[in-house]
């Protein structure tokens, strides 16, 4: 099966920032992304858990984005502008995709 090189960018960010981030990604020419739930976690700002929330403010989500390697920098620049002042984690890893024409 023929596969093609791609990059997988995963951004964990606070739920109220979700739309701002996906708008920025779309603005940077990203053709697709998926949003995954995060149940809880811990970091410099302490422990949190989705079940211990009244509102949406405290929760986080993960935005995963598969892109062609040459688009990585544009994407990271766009994402960074949103994430900059906010808590959260941005990771990039290599992957291969089937059906590269989709990206």
């Amino acid at each position: 099966m023929e596969t093609h090189k791609a990059k997988r960018v995963a951004i964990i960010i606070e739920a109220p920032m979700e739309r701002r981030l996906t708008d920025a990604l779309t603005g940077a020419g990203v053709t697709g992304f998926s949003i995954l739930p995060v149940l809880g976690g811990s970091g410099r700002s302490g422990l949190w858990s989705r079940e211990g929330q009244v509102g949406r403010a405290g929760g986080m989500i993960q935005v995963v984005c598969i892109i062609r390697p040459d688009r990585l920098d544009t994407l990271l620049d766009a994402a960074f502008k949103v994430v900059e002042r906010h808590i959260g984690v941005v990771t990039v890893s290599d992957c291969e995709v089937l059906r590269a024409e989709r990206f």
Binding site: E14, M17, R20, G46, E51, G52, V54, G55, R85, H86
Partner: protein, 324 residues
Amino acid sequence: MENILALAADNLGSPIILSFALGLAAAFARSDLTVPEAVAKGLSIYLLFAIGFKGGAAVAAHGLDTTLVLALLSGGVLSFAIPFIAFGLLRVMTNLSTLDAAAVAGHYGSISIVTFVAATSVLNSQGIASEGYMVAVAAVMEAPAILAALFLVSRTAGGGDRMDSELWREILLNGSIVLLVGAFAIGWITGEEGLASISSFIVAPFQGVLCLFLLDMGLVAGRGLRQARGVMTAPVFAFGVVMPLVGGTLGLAAGLLLGLSTGGVVLFTTLAASASYIAVPAAMRVALPEANPSIYLTLSLGVTFPFNLTLGIPIYVAVASVLT
């Protein structure tokens, strides 16, 4: 005084408060009891819908007070003004940074709808009537405080671009406001007939649902308090008890000046005394991400909310009963 104590004792022994206490206790004991997020959100949708609808139906039944517009206006003004007072108090009482103080202050101008619901349920059990449109006043008071908080920051901590039109839309059209106001409108339009058709859903089981919701609030508040031991210094803690009394006094004065009924004055006092833990925190995470959420969430949910629920509301009822 006796009156207050009797009311407070009554209140403290109600299933609603005891459910909250159970949640608190379970959280402190590190029990794994949790209410799933979806269920908690379902319960809050129920409460908002029911309280809005009943408010609207009450307006349909008793007609519109001429003071409605004035009450809405006063609510908006109070919500914008209280953060300035809270900010001053915080700068004097605590050593929070400007940013943290402004963020906290914003929470106290806004309101907690569950505190409002608890107050109406105390009024019901005491047979004290209130203006149905107080629900609309609650909705009006949600947002102006956020503006005040951002104003405080831009004045003192620089950077005025924290607010964009998108954030405005999000704040004004946040789910709770839309549901509360929408249900109010539906209740108003359909009136007593509408209320009758769904009262075995929104009236009869209301108190019981409130118990489960407050059980969850107790769990959340308790976990918050346990985790925030570090940031909660004594002065910050004290602010969480003093501020509702200060805000409540302003609300009381406004309610009396407007000539509201006893129940209306109680609700106005309660709104002014309560602090937001849903709409404002979300807005703050977007606009003031540098402010520490543990401080404002713990204060409003872990200190002021339980204070109002247990002691505050009986005090407000007793004082309003004397003064109206």
